[in-house]
Amino acid sequence: MAIIPSPVDLAPLRRAPAWRTAEYICWLLPVAAYFLFPTSLSLLSQMAITGLFALSLDLILGYAGIVSLGHVAFFGVGAYAAGLLAKYGYGDPLLGLAIAGTVAAAVGYLSSFLVLRGSDLTRLMVTLGVAMMLFEAANKLTEFTGGVDGLQGVDMKPVLGLFRFDLYGKTAYWYSVAVLFVFFWLARRIVHSPFGLSLRGIKQNVIRMPAIGAPVHARLAAVYTLGAAYAGVAGALLTQTTQFVSLDVLSFPRSAAVMLMLVLGGTGSLYGALIGTLVFMTAHHFLSNLNPQYWQFWLGAVLVLVVLFARDGIMGIAQTVIKRVRGKA
């Protein structure tokens, strides 16, 4: 049989996973920030960690469409797992990340059977309920977690046996950014794979997916587990870089905040999670200095506007602007 050149243009599909210039520039920002804001490294580390947490929520909400108000459960599980490991002598940071991620993934896998039943409302309530139970459990088990006083005595070894966590937070910053980048890169591969495409399929049309032969429930359980692992790694990073675990790692406001950041930045694009985190935390930092009581008023106003008029968040607005500019050029 002769090979006939395909009349279908395959280039757009093939080109989709290639890195764009804007992305390279985006990843130079953390490097620039290190030199521009050397006194704010602890805030910048927090941003990287929260960015990873928002990314984990984007995997399950933005790509697979699973709504969760209790995503903090996995963040907290990872944070405590890493803290307890380091407290009892296993202070190697990378080992801590691996184990915290695995423990959070296990909790995520088990809870997926509860969460994936039923409608969006059921999911919101079940995820919220699971997080609340874990919060109270951590609160009660004071011998284990330190309760409201927090987990003390988290003693970290140097990263890769070479880089000690220093007083200025330099190691903590580079470590957080590096972990964020590695996990972002991995997530980026996953969303461009056939598995990632099937998640988009489930989000767009959950009725059709079984009719083309996709096991919807198994796919959702898999991505929920993955999202939990990511959140666990983020929690572990926070523990390791601050060498302390407060009960707040399991609190509802943290769950709500990460959802807000993701919606603000735009769901389903990975970068939206990072941009949302950056904007949210920067705004928080400056507005709460200016006006400590009322900054949430403005945050609320912005969120209402985003949800009503710019459903795809900052990323959506950016894409529209780019399209317009290109259209005119």
Partner: protein
């Protein structure tokens, strides 16, 4: 040789209402089998029972001789049973090529591949492209599905089912809502499908049914009234009474 698709005493009750009553049906290998009946006769319910979208209250479904009554939808698809939907059920924000590649990936068992990009799965992409070309959809392959005209979307509805590589294809009113001129083209596409593919067709346009089908089953109030060749069905008084009677009333 076993039949392509068979049901035995299939019943479905929604509360006190029986949407399928004791349906025993045999669809032969390679058949062009039409399911007709007045509105509310339970045609779509029957399709949903065959595909596993609904679970029957009682009775059994056999696919190529295998009892699939307890199998989930996606497991039946893996065994060669695909369907289209009466109301378009597409992936609106994907390009046509993406959604076709998605469907082909599922059939080829790539759905769990999480490392290599979709575009590197040449077997899936090429097959999706070939299928689109054969349905004359090549020029819209990189358009977002939601931006296409309704008639084209209706064709993609069928293309997605074909991407599952069916041996038995259930078409639930494939031409619903399509203007007559386009529906003719749509049916030419369906008529060109290889003979090995068994086709079950639900359709209201009797002209199309009688031209296309070699076997017709008539459903009334969820029960099978009769089954025969188009010629015999056309002559059957009972069919005229229930079916055409209603059409005249309506």
């Amino acid at each position: 040789m076993s039949a392509a698709l068979q049901t035995r005493n299939l019943c479905k009750k929604f509360g006190g209402f029986s949407a399928a009553r004791d349906v025993t049906l045999t669809i032969e290998q390679g058949a062009r089998h039409a399911l007709i009946g007045p509105n509310g006769a339970g045609k779509t319910t029957l399709v949903n029972l065959l595909t596993g979208f609904l679970e029957p209250t009682s009775g059994e479904v056999f696919l190529k001789g295998e009892n699939v009554t307890r199998l989930a939808q996606h497991q039946r698809v893996k065994r060669g049973l695909a369907r289209t939907f009466q109301i378009n059920s597409l992936f609106a924000d994907m390009t046509v090529l993406e959604s076709m590649t998605l469907a082909v990936c599922e059939r080829l068992g790539f759905g769990w591949h999480w490392w290599r990009p979709v575009g590197d799965h040449a077997a899936a992409v090429d097959e999706a492209a070939t299928l689109l070309a054969s349905l004359r959809l090549a020029d819209v392959a990189n358009e977002k599905t939601r931006n296409l005209a309704y008639g084209k979307q209706r064709l993609i509805e069928i293309a997605l089912a074909l991407a599952a590589g069916p041996q038995v294809l259930l078409l639930d009113e494939p031409a619903a809502g399509v203007p007559t001129s386009e529906s003719r083209e749509l049916f030419e596409t369906i008529a060109r499908l290889p003979r090995e593919v068994t086709i079950v067709l639900i359709e209201h346009d009797m002209d199309l049914v009688f031209r296309f089908a070699d076997r017709i089953s008539v459903l009334v109030n969820g029960a099978l009234l009769t089954e025969n060749t188009p010629q015999e069905i056309a002559r059957d008084k009972r069919v005229k009474e229930v079916y055409l009677g209603e059409a005249l009333d309506g």
